[in-house]
Symmetry: C2
DNA sequence: CTTTCGTTCAACCATATGGGTGAATAACAC
DNA sequence: GTGTTATTCACCCATATGGTTGAACGAAAG
């Protein structure tokens, strides 16, 4: 049996990644390394508050981590959780491939029966 | 220049995949091959209507296709769009790796300057 | 002591989302 | 014709979401 991880974790990751602003934040962090909330917000056409909330969402999904050095919060991208998407995808694809294999086998056997 | 695809397409794919029920539908279709809407709905603890709407969402994201043979609609999983997630992920990771490389290079140069 | 700084918290608003029920549709079986 | 089947459409509802503005906090600087 494959170790079934909490599906809500994957849901949170996918949902967090489904917002364009949040994906841009991840890209920005990947490019620049850790940044302060204010510095991130400066790049966007939204209020600081809106960006702060996006960061909280990303944090909740584990896609960024926060290093709080008193009032300055350093936000850093975390690539690890993203690989859960990969895992899910690979799993789905293998289920799919398995069925096709079984189908092939069945057809072949059917042919032998003729 | 990398061909920049419509980011809203990726958003739709991620959002569609972020719902547990919809992921289960995809898994079901990957296992069983094309199914009728009714047969899909039978597996879930939701109204036929709710499942129908989920399927429409998946269809909108291109994750399933529909073969309408009069009143019976055959729903089939489409793996292709999912690879856009892979692409995005790979791109983000490469941006990230690039920064680390540059960081390494800078440190090395700094050392040479000493 | 007052101001500034970086950030979150608390409301609030409009819209989206996931769910439900009931009707409409059009072919097919009786 | 009447009923059954498979599916969507049109509403309705509660809650989530993305955005706004304004207040609060607590250290540091003037």
């Amino acid at each position: 049996m494959v170790e079934r991880k909490d599906p809500s974790a994957l849901s949170a990751i996918l949902k967090a990644a489904s917002d364009p602003t949040r994906r841009q934040i991840l890209t920005l962090l990947a490019q620049n390394g850790p940044l302060k909330v204010t510095d991130i917000a400066r790049r966007f056409d939204q209020s600081l508050n809106a960006v702060s909330k996006h960061i909280k969402t990303l944090e909740g999904a584990g896609l960024v981590s926060r290093l709080t050095e008193w009032r300055e919060h350093l936000i850093e991208v975390q690539m690890a959780p993203l690989s859960e998407i990969d895992t899910w995808f690979a799993e789905l694809r293998s289920i799919w491939a398995l069925r096709l294999d079984a189908l092939d086998a069945a057809l072949k056997e059917d042919n032998d029966d003729k």
